[in-house]
Assembly symmetry: C2
Homo-oligomer: 275 residues x 2
């Protein structure tokens, strides 16, 4: 992979990397298209990274659709697919070396999933060192991940431009996720409450409400209308620090995570985004 | 720095980096010569990294001799000197992102200096990302640092070859160190006990003694003859894992650290080194 990447860059072309865990959907493909539009050659990685899953999480059953993923990437004009085995990425069983972003890693999903972001930042650093891309493309759906990776890149002077693509949604508003395949038809309907609560907040914010407390109360009220879905967190935070804020007028991330049956889903919106 | 480095590598030349904290001595210069011999263009960094000093350590008084360092590096044919300000390396005051090598970082010096190696690995990762060298050169005097950096490079797939140069000593055997300038003439003599104890062990090992316990006992006995020097640690460990070993016949690192007055010095030898 590194030899291929160096050949691309040595020829003066820019290389884009879209890191994924496979089970590709339109969200991933939109990142691939963004990468194709802004770089010369696109590499996609597929690696279901064990170190970012907790002991009671869904590593074993995480959806895998490698052949279909390859077809999709072919169709999108991707030049390189990097799909290492676990034993290649972690020859000694696991890494003794960890990249951690203090504070940020224990907020939002990091609070619900201890160790998750340590696994993410470590494997992303490894992928950056192996692929050496000029730019890497991540989805806004994983908003906390985006903040943490941006911070890691800045703090460690990683020579990679981070580009974030917007959330891609199903026609009814559900944020696309590889984990949506876990949902049965009834859960699929119940899951809409995540996006519905966010839209309620967005509507109020657009009408002039700037109090995070008021917005959250409205969002949580909407959320409570779907009693089958168990809330994990519902927060309004600074998109960079992930710290709670009280006023959304200078930009805010509204993030929600919830369990629909055993399936944990996340969604978010950005308010008053600075252009 | 990165632009300069990329221009070098784009022209097909290999770039070597010698990371230092300045106050250069013959140990550093031997690494520069090694770098010149095995790469095409040599960069040296000088950065007294605050994050690897403990709150009660010698950050403020650490010797600085920038003008002399520049002269020495000029004379050695170094092409690039990277000497960033603290505010450039840590714009936000400090890093929120840390690179840590679990276990290894709390052994030997890491046990005596909590947080030290976290600072080292983080700043070395940053320097690697900024300078993007093909090879980086470190001194065997910092044996634990060498083991930790090798492990970091392996675990994080950093695209940098690590080359380790032997300890350079004063004519009387004292390992060269920027901190030797702290010693008054009497302490300078007392400090010889570190190397003397190591030589005692080396002599016995060469005569066939392979028991780490017996070797350590002899080394510590020699060490105890200099009552003015306070021992920090005296260990025989695996050079890669830094774990204590009982038999030295398949390779061993004998490492000692001690306080001569307020000055902490370290020294080590490798036994039965595999070629």
């Amino acid at each position: 992979m590194r030899a291929a990447s160096r050949a691309v860059r040595h020829s003066g072309k820019r290389l884009g990397l879209v890191p994924t865990m496979g089970a590709l959907h339109e969200g991933h493909l939109s990142l691939v298209r963004s990468a194709r539009a802004s770089t010369d050659v696109v590499a996609v990685s597929i690696f279901v990274n064990p170190t970012q899953f907790g002991p009671n999480e869904d590593l074993a059953k995480y959806p895998r659709s490698f052949d279909r993923d390859c077809e999709l990437l072919d169709r999108e004009g991707v030049s390189f697919l990097f799909a290492p085995a676990v034993e290649e990425m972690y020859p000694a069983g696991s890494s003794a070396t960890w990249v951690t972003v203090d504070d940020l890693s224990s907020k939002l999903d990091g609070r619900s999933r201890p160790g998750h972001f340590r696994g993410v930042t470590t494997v992303v650093a490894k992928l950056f060192h192996i692929v050496e891309p000029d730019a890497a493309f991540f989805g806004q759906k994983d908003a906390a991940q985006v903040a943490i990776i941006r911070r890691m890149v800045r703090d460690l002077d990683l020579p990679v431009e981070i580009v974030v693509g917007p959330i891609v949604r199903e026609p009814d508003g559900l944020a696309m996720s590889s984990r949506n395949t876990y949902l049965d038809p009834q859960q699929r309907k119940q899951a809409l409450v995540l996006n519905r609560s966010l839209r309620e907040i967005e509507k109020l914010a657009q009408a002039g409400e700037s109090s995070a407390a008021n917005l959250l109360a409205a969002g949580r009220e909407e959320f409570a209308s779907e009693t089958a879905v168990r809330l994990d967190y519902f927060e309004i935070v600074d998109p960079g620090t992930l710290d709670p804020i009280t006023d959304v007028s200078r930009g805010a991330l509204v993030a929600v995570a919830a369990y629909v049956g055993p399936t944990r889903l996340i969604d978010n919106i950005l308010l008053n985004r600075t252009p």
